[in-house]
Amino acid sequence: MKERKHPGVEKRMDKTAGQDEMGIMRKEEFLRELEACLSDISQEERDEALAYYADYLEDAGEEEVSGLGTPQQVAEGIRVGLEQDADVGEFTEEGYRDERLEEEAQTPDRYTVLMKKDSWKSSEKTFEDQYTENQEKKENGTTWEDDRFKSFGKQAHQTWEEAKKEGFGNRAKKAWDDAKKSEWGAQAENIWEEVKSRASQSGKGREKKAQTTAVRKKGSHGILFVILLIFFGIPAASAILGTGFSFAAAIFGGLFGIFGGLIGLAAAAFAAAIGAVSAGIAMIGSGMVSFATPAVAFTMIGGGFLLLAVGMLCFLLMKWGFGTVVPWAFRTAGSVVRCAAIWIRDMIWQMSGKGGARE
């Protein structure tokens, strides 16, 4: 195919000389106009398209020329097709991604060509086998997406991979600049949008999404923001997180102290109750036996009953302590810790959110 340049056009010129003048003129005209309309695409693409339409018109007969539409329309279709080729895929953190092929990991593997002609008609099993194999291949990381790099900027992907290794810093910027210089700007823009959206989404809550969208729309300012976020945001976030954790630990420790105290108090109440009750009984007993001096006996018995009452009170106190106060303390501590966690999270969100808003 390389050796034929405008093959159809030339052949037709030789061959059709002296035939139906009208038809020839229309075909010639059509192809010439088409060539003019395609002056903005590469030589190779132009030759391919002209060869195709020369063939097509030769096979169709001249009445089909009008069926194709105007050369301008045909050229527009070719141009859109070329643009779509470049737009279909995009580079992501996982490498090249083509949405058309990605659904449900259905991407076929060129090394797993199980599909022979008509085999799909005979059994459905073949499909399942193929699907499973593809799935396995995909897990092993050898899909034909790798091969598809060939058709879309391989260089872009390399730069991207390097940038990834070095933490999306200067390399990412460089990749962006390189991409802008070269032909596949649109694709690079996709990469960039992806980096930006991931960077900003990871730091922010849903409520900030609208803001970040606005930020992203600002374009080049957004780039600076992402770089700043990556370089300073991560250390800052870890610092905040660390502080948060120490706070949480302190609160936790304090709460444990209070628990200990509460439990100790309850236990003390229990001990006091037992002591008071036994002392009360002992006093009543000794009062009973010392009736020789009634005053002493009655004082002892009275004191004994008093101690018994105190003991009962202590029992009640202990029951209340263990049954109500300690569980309540646990519950409160739990919610305090939860609140603290939420507070810390909100603070992180807010900080990164404010960063976005400022931009």
Partner: protein, 121 residues
């Protein structure tokens, strides 16, 4: 014939691959266009970008063959094209079954579909 349902790029790819795959020796642009247009109302100039893309993706290979005193370009399906077509056929059978299920038979899931098939048997 007017078209109510859109034909997406993937479906067009699938149809073109299938048409080309039917000719072991390959087939040429005009004929492919005729075949596709017999089932789908696409304009005559729709298929060049599709064929070109499939060629670039190594799903189709091209070669020139002498015909009537001139060279004619032929398109032939590649191994990768077969794999891609297999994927498309697989996807289509699932997709069309599901759509038909809900559109024509009022079934909402593959499970209920299977149950009904078993009942019928």
């Amino acid at each position: 014939m007017t078209m109510v349902f859109n034909t997406g790029a993937a479906l067009l790819d699938a149809i073109v691959l299938s048409v080309v795959s039917m000719e072991p020796e390959g087939t040429y642009g005009y004929r492919i266009t005729q075949e596709v247009r017999s089932v789908l109302n696409v304009s005559e100039s729709t298929l060049y970008p599709v064929l070109r893309r499939l060629q670039k993706d190594d799903c189709l290979s091209v070669y020139d063959r002498e015909y009537g005193g001139r060279n004619r370009r032929y398109y032939k399906i590649t191994e990768q094209g077969w794999a891609q077509l297999g994927m498309y056929r697989n996807e289509w059978s699932h997709y069309s079954e599901k759509i038909s299920g809900i559109l024509l038979y009022g079934r909402t899931s593959e499970k209920s579909c299977r149950e009904e098939n078993e009942k019928e048997l």
